[in-house]
């Protein structure tokens, strides 16, 4: 093949016959390499290793605490945590606290996401309005909202409403900016098509802008559920009579470290459950949007 190529481009071959030996030498010097191949472990093995690490860590913790390598006063120990967990759920305030935190999170999530998305979409209606309001929204975004939490508690009291307000404050701006990003990504030709068909502004909004921006609105749900939970917990840290955040703060102040761990565990479980539920909702909505 090489010979034929050289025959076809005979002139070129004649111009540079010398480099052939150099090429051969370079090829010999170049190391032989194969494509690195990574072998995938079977799923059961992966799960076994994961569970093994968890069990091992808990066992080490327990043994360390009993042997005195770990100060059980500051770090507590798994057996004590399990014991406290039983008390927390049987005679303690577990369900009141869970329900309180859950309610403030969900309400804050719903209000913040809905209001924020609507605010973001509303920017489509007027460029002037968007230009005027946008700096304020960006300002709000850059303010650490949690720093305002004490003020919010002061205004809304120590009940559920103030927790909902903190959770709303955290989620609202994120939703606003995301929905507005959707509005800005709108293809002007899409609007042109609608107007060429004689559409009104309202028709363009309902039939083009809203469906087009829905994926943006949906994409922020999982972020927002986490933010809402953070808002609710911080609200409870500052002043509250109920809630898992308040339980953690109270336990910490009374050096009941086992209870801190219990509340954190319950809180994590709550977070995972809500995250999974919202992920499911997101998938369902995505399918719905396509219909």
């Amino acid at each position: 093949m090489t010979v034929q190529d050289r025959a076809t481009f005979g002139d070129m071959a004649r111009i540079e016959p010398a480099p052939r030996e150099a090429d051969a030498a370079a090829a010999a010097a170049r190391p032989m390499r194969r494509l690195p191949v990574q072998k995938d472990w079977p799923t059961w093995l992966l799960v076994a290793v994961q569970v093994g690490i968890l069990v091992g860590a808990i066992a080490l913790w327990e043994i360390g605490a009993r042997a005195g390598w770990i100060d059980a006063f500051f770090w507590s120990q798994p057996s004590a945590i399990a014991h406290t967990m039983g008390i927390f759920f049987s005679t303690g305030d577990a369900w009141t606290d869970i329900s309180f935190t859950f309610r403030s999170t969900i309400l804050g999530f719903l209000i913040g996401t809905t209001a924020g998305s609507l605010l973001g979409l509303s920017f489509w209606w007027s460029r002037n309005y968007a230009a005027i309001v946008q700096p304020y929204v960006i300002c709000l975004e850059s303010i650490p909202k949690l720093a305002l939490a004490p003020l919010i508690i002061l205004v809304f009291g120590i009940g559920l409403v103030s927790k909902v307000a903190v959770a709303t404050a955290l989620t609202l701006v994120v939703s606003t900016l995301t929905a507005y990003a959707g509005v800005k990504a709108l293809d002007p030709d899409g609007e042109k098509l609608f107007y060429s068909l004689g559409a009104t502004r309202m028709q363009v909004f309902r039939k083009l802008v809203v469906p087009f921006c829905l994926p943006w609105v949906i994409s922020v749900l999982r972020v927002n559920i986490g933010l809402a939970l953070t808002g609710a917990i911080v609200g409870e840290f500052i002043a509250s009579q109920h809630g898992l955040g308040r339980a953690i703060l109270y336990a910490g102040q009374t050096y009941d470290i086992a209870l801190v761990w219990v509340a954190v565990l319950v809180l994590s479980t709550l977070a995972v459950v809500m995250y999974a539920a919202v992920s499911w909702l997101e998938r369902a909505l995505r399918r719905g949007v396509r219909q």
Binding site: K192, F194, Y195, S196, L197, A199, K207, P211, R290
Partner: protein, 266 residues
């Protein structure tokens, strides 16, 4: 072809855009009179104002001078009077093909059920049967273009503007789509204004070809295409066809200064 009072009349329409560096004349006064049921093409280099004319006729752009008359009525700056198909198919990804094609009727207030009932037989007859309930992302480029064209037709206006509808298709599909468009046009008897870069396409499809020039955008020449219809593919090899093509290419390739062009057009 009997030429009655023009269906669509672009009367001395001109367009000047204000830019930071000064006024930019996109369109020198342009006049077009298109009788009912005609197929008319505009060809020209990019930047010759073809899309500007379309936007003005569709009412999406207010011209700086002149009027657009439809059926003898001043329609300058009014939307929803003509069907306008943009270069992109702009099918809405969250709607099925069927629901995409009824968009125009829906916006005009036709009930969903009636609109669908009207659209379904057409989808079937014009090569989209089996695709009605699919989403656009499942369709090939040619099929998407068909759906977009049917959406324009189902909007049910007498005048239709097609802005390079087949520009992005491969050569083979393009030929099929041209045949398909000819069939639609002879079935519906719409007045079509067609923009393309493809000289052969313009001649093959049209009753009349307007060759446009740039700086400012203007019509250099109007060339009637007197080939008998229906036209066979091989008509592109006839001397008449080739003569027209030659003339168009000559107009397009010679970048004549504006003064020359005016004398040529006259």
């Amino acid at each position: 072809m009997p030429s009655s009072a023009p269906k669509l009349c672009v009367d001395d329409v001109s367009m000047t855009f204000k830019t930071p560096t000064g006024a930019f004349q996109a369109l020198a006064p342009v006049t077009l009179a298109i009788p009912q049921g005609r197929f008319v093409s505009l060809i020209g280099p990019s930047g010759c104002g073809k899309s500007t004319i379309f936007n003005i006729i569709a009412g999406l752009l207010e011209p700086t001078g002149g009027r657009v008359m439809i059926d003898g009525v001043d329609a300058t700056g009014t939307i929803g009077r003509v069907g306008y198909m943009l270069q992109k198919d702009l099918l809405l990804p969250w709607r099925t093909v069927l629901d995409n094609t009824i968009l125009g009727m829906e916006i005009q207030g036709v009930s969903l059920r009636e609109a669908r009932a009207r659209a379904l037989p057409l989808l079937e007859r014009y090569g989209l049967s089996g695709f009605e309930y699919l989403y656009p992302n499942a369709l090939s480029g040619g099929m998407r273009q068909r759906a977009a064209l049917l959406r324009t037709l189902l909007f049910d206006t007498d005048v239709i503007l097609l802005d390079e509808p087949f520009g992005a298709l491969d050569a083979q599909t393009k030929l099929q789509m041209q045949e398909w468009l000819m069939r639609l046009w002879s079935d519906f008897g719409k007045t079509v204004l067609f923009v393309t870069h493809d000289v052969e396409e313009a001649i093959y499809l049209s009753d009349e070809v307007h060759v446009m020039g740039t700086r400012p955008g203007r019509i250099l020449a109007t060339i009637p295409v007197a080939l008998a219809r229906p036209r066979a593919r091989t008509s592109a090899l006839t001397p008449e066809f080739l003569a027209i093509k030659e003339r168009c290419l000559a107009l397009l390739t010679v970048e004549a200064p504006a003064s020359d062009a005016v004398s040529q057009a006259a």
